[in-house]
C-alpha cells in the first residue's frame, strides 16, 4: 500500500515539512530543526518502502490527480529512481541531524529559513528524480534551484555575491533546458518521457530532436557543473554554510547527472545518442578534461572547502566520463560513483564544518598535528573519506574507479584510462598534504605564527565536535567502508536491474 503511494509521498514529506518548519519555527527555532529531521526521516521511510516495492514488483507509475499519461503528469519510480530517492533522503537526514550546532554557529538567527529552504531543495530534487514528464521536470528543477540559491545566500559575508552568480548561471541552464524541451515537444508532440521514447524509436531523427537533446545536455551540464560550465560552483560551495554545502554538494549535482542518464539512455535511444550525434562522447571528454583541470585547481587551493569544491567538479567529471562510455560498465561506474561520492563528499564537508566550529577556521596552511589530537574521531573520518577519494581499496572510491577503468579498457579508450590514473595521483597529492599536516606536522614547526591565536595552545585537549555533528560524520565514514566492502552485492542486486535495455 505505502509502496504504491511512495512516489507522491516522498516529495510531499519534504514540501510539507518545509512549510511546517516555517510555521513551527515561529514558536521556537529548535522546532524547525526537529521538523526537518522528522520530514527527512519520513521521506527516507517512504523511499525505502518504494524501492522495496519496485525491486519486488517492478516499476510504479503514479498518475497525479488520476489523469492518465501522456496527458496527465506521471511520477515514475523504477530501480534507478528509487535508489536515488533512498540516497537523497538518507544523506539529507544525516546532514540535517548534523546541522544543529553548525547552523547555529555559522549563521545565527537564520535557522528557520535555513531548514525550510533545505527541505524545499530536497523536495524539488526528489521530484526531479521521480517525474516522468519533461515539463514537470523543469518545474521541479526550478523549485530545487531557487531554494538552492537561497540556501547558498545564507552563508558568510560573500555568500550573496556567489549566490547571485549561481542564480545567473543556474537560470541560464534552466533556460537552455526549457528550450531543449520545447524542441523535443514540437518534434514529438508529447512531454511524457516514456511516450517520447516510443515516438523516437519509430520516427526518423530530425534536426530539432538533435538540437533539443544538445540543449538539454548543455542546460543540465550547467546545473551539474560539468567542465567548462562549473564556474559557479567553487564560490557557491565555499561561501555557503558548511551544512548547506554538505547538503548541496553530494546530491545537487548528482541529481543533474541523473537527469543526463535519464534523458540520454532512457528517453532517447542510446544507439542514436552514441553513434549518430556523438552526444555521449562530448559529455565524456568534457568530463575527462574537467577531472584533470579541477584536480589541478584543487591542488592549488589553501581553503579546505574551496579545495573540496574543486574536487567536486573533478568527481562530477568521473560521472560524466561514465556516462560518456555509454556501456553497461560505464553505467555501473557512473551510478556507483554517484553514491560513493555522495557519501565521501558529504563526510568531507561535514568534517570541514566541524573544523570551523572547533578550530574556528578550515584553512589548510593553519592545520597541524594538533588537529588530530583535538578532534581524533573527526580526523579519522576525514582520513577514511580522503583515502576513498584517492581510490585505495577497500574503500568505496576504489570500486567506482575500477568499473570506470574497466569500461574504458573494454572500449580501448586509453585517454580515459590515462585520465583516471593521473587524476588518482592528483587526488593523492591534495589529500595527503592535509593528512600529513593533521597527523605529522609538529606544532612548533608552524612558521606563520598563527597558532598564538588558537584557544588551546600548550597541550591540546580532546575537544571533539558535539555528538549531533560527530555521529553523522562517523556514519558517513563507516558508510564509505561498508559501500566498498559490499559493492559486489550492491551492483548485482541494485545497480544491475537499473541498466536500460538498449545500452
Amino acid at each position: 500500500m505505502i509502496g504504491a503511494e511512495a512516489p507522491v509521498f516522498i516529495p510531499l514529506a519534504f514540501l510539507v515539512s518545509a512549510m511546517l518548519a516555517l510555521l513551527l519555527g515561529v514558536i521556537s527555532r529548535p522546532l524547525a530543526y526537529v521538523t526537518a529531521i522528522v520530514g527527512s526521516a519520513a521521506a527516507l521511510f517512504f523511499s525505502v518502502r518504494g524501492l522495496q516495492a519496485v525491486l519486488a514488483d517492478g516499476p510504479i507509475s503514479y498518475h497525479l490527480a488520476g489523469w492518465m499519461p501522456p496527458l496527465g503528469i506521471e511520477l515514475y519510480l523504477d530501480p534507478l529512481a528509487g535508489f536515488f530517492c533512498v540516497l537523497l533522503s538518507g544523506i539529507t537526514l544525516l546532514v540535517m541531524v548534523y546541522g544543529r550546532h553548525s547552523v547555529q554557529h555559522e549563521t545565527p538567527r537564520k535557522e528557520v529559513p535555513f531548514y525550510s529552504l533545505a527541505m524545499f531543495l530536497v523536495g524539488g530534487l526528489s521530484g526531479m528524480v521521480m517525474t516522468g514528464d519533461l515539463f514537470n521536470l523543469y518545474v521541479f528543477l526550478e523549485i530545487g534551484a531557487l531554494s538552492g540559491y537561497g540556501l547558498v545566500a545564507i552563508g558568510d559575508k560573500r555568500a550573496p555575491v556567489s549566490a547571485f552568480r549561481y542564480l545567473t548561471l543556474g537560470t541560464l541552464g534552466a533556460a537552455f533546458f526549457l528550450l531543449g524541451v520545447a524542441f523535443i515537444f514540437i518534434s514529438t508532440g508529447t512531454l511524457n518521457m516514456a511516450d517520447i521514447a516510443r515516438v523516437l524509436l519509430v520516427s526518423q531523427p530530425t534536426t530539432p530532436i538533435m538540437l533539443g537533446m544538445a540543449l538539454i545536455v548543455v542546460g543540465v551540464g550547467l546545473k551539474m557543473a560539468l567542465f567548462p560550465m562549473h564556474a559557479w560552483l567553487p564560490d557557491a560551495y565555499t561561501h555557503a554554510s558548511s551544512t548547506a554545502t554538505a547538503l548541496i554538494a553530494p546530491i545537487g549535482t548528482k541529481v543533474a547527472a541523473y537527469i543526463l542518464l535519464r534523458v540520454l539512455f532512457f528517453m532517447a535511444d542510446p544507439e542514436y545518442v552514441r553513434h549518430d550525434i556523438h552526444l555521449t562522447d562530448v559529455v565524456g571528454y568534457l568530463g575527462a578534461v574537467g577531472i584533470i583541470w579541477a584536480s589541478v585547481m584543487a591542488i592549488t587551493q589553501k581553503e579546505m572547502k574551496r579545495m573540496l569544491a574543486y574536487s567536486s567538479v573533478a568527481q562530477v567529471g568521473y560521472i560524466a566520463l561514465g556516462i560518456g562510455l555509454a556501456s553497461p560498465l560505464g553505467f555501473i561506474g557512473a551510478v556507483l560513483h554517484v553514491i560513493n561520492h555522495a557519501f565521501m563528499k558529504a563526510c568531507l564537508f561535514l568534517v570541514s564544518g566541524s573544523f570551523r566550529l572547533r578550530l574556528g577556521h578550515s584553512s589548510i596552511p593553519k592545520l597541524d598535528h594538533g588537529v588530530g589530537r583535538v578532534l581524533p574521531w573527526t580526523s579519522a573520518a576525514f582520513s577514511i573519506a580522503a583515502i576513498s577519494m584517492i581510490g585505495l581499496p577497500p574503500t568505496a572510491g576504489f570500486f567506482s574507479k575500477w568499473y570506470l577503468a574497466l569500461g574504458s579498457i573494454e572500449q580501448s579508450n586509453w585517454v580515459f584510462v590515462a585520465v583516471l590514473l593521473i587524476s588518482s595521483l592528483m587526488n593523492a597529492v591534495y589529500f595527503f598534504r592535509i593528512l600529513e599536516r593533521m597527523y605529522l606536522k609538529p606544532r612548533s614547526a608552524s612558521d606563520d605564527g598563527k597558532e598564538a591565536e588558537m584557544p588551546q595552545q600548550a597541550a591540546p585537549a580532546n575537544n571533539e565536535a558535539p555528538g549531533s555533528m560527530l555521529v553523522p560524520t562517523l556514519v558517513l565514514a563507516a558508510g564509505v567502508l561498508v559501500l566498498g566492502i559490499m559493492n559486489a552485492w550492491g551492483i548485482s542486486h541494485i545497480i544491475e536491474p537499473m541498466i536500460p535495455e538498449g545500452l
Binding site: 507522491v8 510531499l12 512549510m19 516555517l22 510555521l23 503514479y62 497525479l64 490527480a65 488520476g66
Partner: protein, 159 residues
C-alpha cells in the same frame, strides 16, 4: 523580517522616508479610494479561476498590488492593519499547506494526489466536487502569491 540595525546605515537608499506616509493629499485620497476596487477585482479574478480565465496567481498578484499601494501611500505603520508584516510569511506557508492538504485529503480517501473526486465534501455531484476542489486549491495559491509578494516588499524595506 529580522531587519538588522546596520542595514539602514549601510544602504542610503533605504532611508526612513520610504516607510513614512506620503505628503501629497492627492496620492493619499486616491490610494484610499482605488485600493478597495483593486482588492475587489483581485477577488473577482480569483473566484473565476476555476472555470474561466483568471485564477490564483493573477488574483493573488492583484490583491498584493492593493496592499502594496497602501504600504506605499499610507506608510508601513498605518498599513499594518490590513496585513501585519510578521504574519505574511506564516500565512503564505499556510496557503501552501491548504494546497497540499487538499491533495493529501484525496490520497487518504482512496484517490490519487489532487484527485478532487475523492474530496470529503458531502452532497455534491462529481462535477461540483471538481469545481469546488479547484476553488479550494486556488485559495491556497492566492494566499501564497499575495503574501509572498508583500513579504518580499517588506523584507526589502527592512521592516
Amino acid at each position: 523580517m529580522n531587519g538588522s540595525p546596520d542595514r539602514d546605515q549601510r544602504d542610503p537608499c533605504l532611508d526612513e522616508s520610504l516607510k513614512e506616509p506620503t505628503d501629497s493629499i492627492i496620492v493619499d485620497i486616491a490610494s484610499r479610494v482605488i485600493t478597495p476596487f483593486i482588492l475587489l477585482i483581485g477577488l473577482y479574478v480569483f473566484f473565476h479561476g476555476h472555470y474561466s480565465p483568471g485564477g490564483g496567481f493573477q488574483g493573488g498578484v492583484l490583491l498584493a498590488a492593493g496592499i502594496l499601494l497602501l504600504r506605499l501611500s499610507l506608510g508601513v505603520a498605518v498599513s499594518q492593519a490590513i496585513m501585519p508584516t510578521r504574519m505574511t510569511l506564516r500565512l503564505a506557508a499556510g496557503g501552501v499547506l491548504v494546497f497540499l492538504g487538499t491533495g493529501l485529503a484525496a490520497v487518504f480517501l482512496g484517490g490519487n494526489f489532487l484527485d478532487y473526486h475523492y474530496l470529503p465534501l458531502p452532497g455534491l455531484s462529481p462535477e461540483y466536487l471538481r469545481y469546488y476542489g479547484i476553488l479550494l486549491i486556488e485559495v491556497g495559491v492566492t494566499a501564497t502569491v499575495m503574501l509572498t509578494l508583500v513579504a518580499i516588499y517588506d523584507e526589502l524595506l527592512g521592516c
